[in-house]
């Protein structure tokens, strides 16, 4: 079997768009099921009373990461054809800092905000409008900050390359960190909920 299917030309662009909708449905379904359609639930992450965001995010990362590793090992998936986002260190750090403030203020992130909107949350719609404004602002500022935006390019670099560890060892380290995180998350939740 040759995966990624699209990269091997198993289907064309129109079918790819159909898959986009199907994959999107799955994405939206699990986001809503996790409770990410509610800004109050999402924001509890930052007050330690409900750490669902952390749990869901890291479980998803660990699942997909392990899946990639094992499918590649079984020869089903060619990892070199999976698009790794190139790293631009400083812009990504700064972007993350701005994004974090936006998260606490708005309560949603771009994906969860769509789920919130469609399930009737009015603050979700306003948040969506705000995001359009933010992207428009970025677009207008782009001629000024374009050079900085492309600064500190590191290419398609991965953590295993940086730490000089094998892919499998890096997977283990992240799984260990995630499991330790989940354990602490459960403890923290019980403690902060009792304080409240």
């Amino acid at each position: 079997m040759n995966a990624p299917f699209y990269q091997f030309g198993l289907f064309g662009n129109d079918t790819a768009l159909l898959f986009a909708v199907i994959i999107g449905i799955g994405f939206g379904f699990f986001l809503e099921q996790a409770g990410f359609g509610s800004s109050v639930k999402l924001a509890q992450q930052f007050y330690f009373t409900d750490l669902t965001v952390f749990k869901v995010m890291f479980t998803a990362i660990v699942t997909a990461m392990q899946g990639l590793f094992w499918l590649s090992w079984f020869g089903v998936l060619d990892l070199s054809l999976v698009h790794v986002l190139p790293t631009f260190l400083v812009p990504q750090l700064v972007g993350g800092l701005v994004f974090g403030v936006g998260f606490v203020l708005g309560g949603y992130c771009p994906g969860t905000c769509c789920v919130a909107s469609v399930t009737g949350k009015m603050d979700g719609w306003i948040h969506l409008l705000g995001m359009f404004a933010g992207i428009f602002l970025f677009g207008e500022l782009f001629p000024l900050i374009g050079d900085w935006y492309s600064s500190t390019p590191k290419g398609e670099i991965t953590l295993s390359q940086v730490f000089n560890l094998s892919h499998g060892t890096m997977v283990l380290l992240i799984v260990l960190a995630a499991l330790a995180g989940f354990y602490s998350a459960e403890k923290l939740e019980t403690r902060f909920r009792s304080i409240k």
Binding site: F29, G67, T87, L93, F136
Partner: protein
Amino acid sequence: MQTPKPYMNPYLAGIGLGLVLLAAFVVMGRGLGASGALSSFVTLGVNAVAPAHAQTNAFYKEYLGTPNGNPLNDWLVYEIAGVLIGGLISGLIAGRVRRTVDKGARITVSTRMIYAFGGGILMGLGSKIARGCTSGQALTGGALLSVGSWVFMIAVFASAYAVAYFFRKQWT
């Protein structure tokens, strides 16, 4: 109105989300995204109002696609359409679809709306500066062990925890 069903076990939801992400890798060779689709909509708007402006700006130009193509004819736009459908399906099944404003008990609706709009602006800016959001960077890049994505993720949590105290009234 029925009482909403409880949320899914977070670890199960995480596995479900991870498998959807994995499916995207296997089928397309790419991950998920959300902010990219929003950029396509913004570009569509700018192009409708001021086409010449959109053509000269490198950022909009990237989302315009082929010269006579439609900016909405994009994988992420279709994916986000799916997200809306999937979210609605889940919400209907669980009885969570209702018109409401989600906020803490200590603030008014209008304050919440101002915060939501302001947060949206920052989030739009931040996700564009970082080349992606929680879906495109944190989940996708996280699973691919991309350095920039992990830096982004750590920065998001760090800054959110740093400022959370000042906005506690909104949520608790």
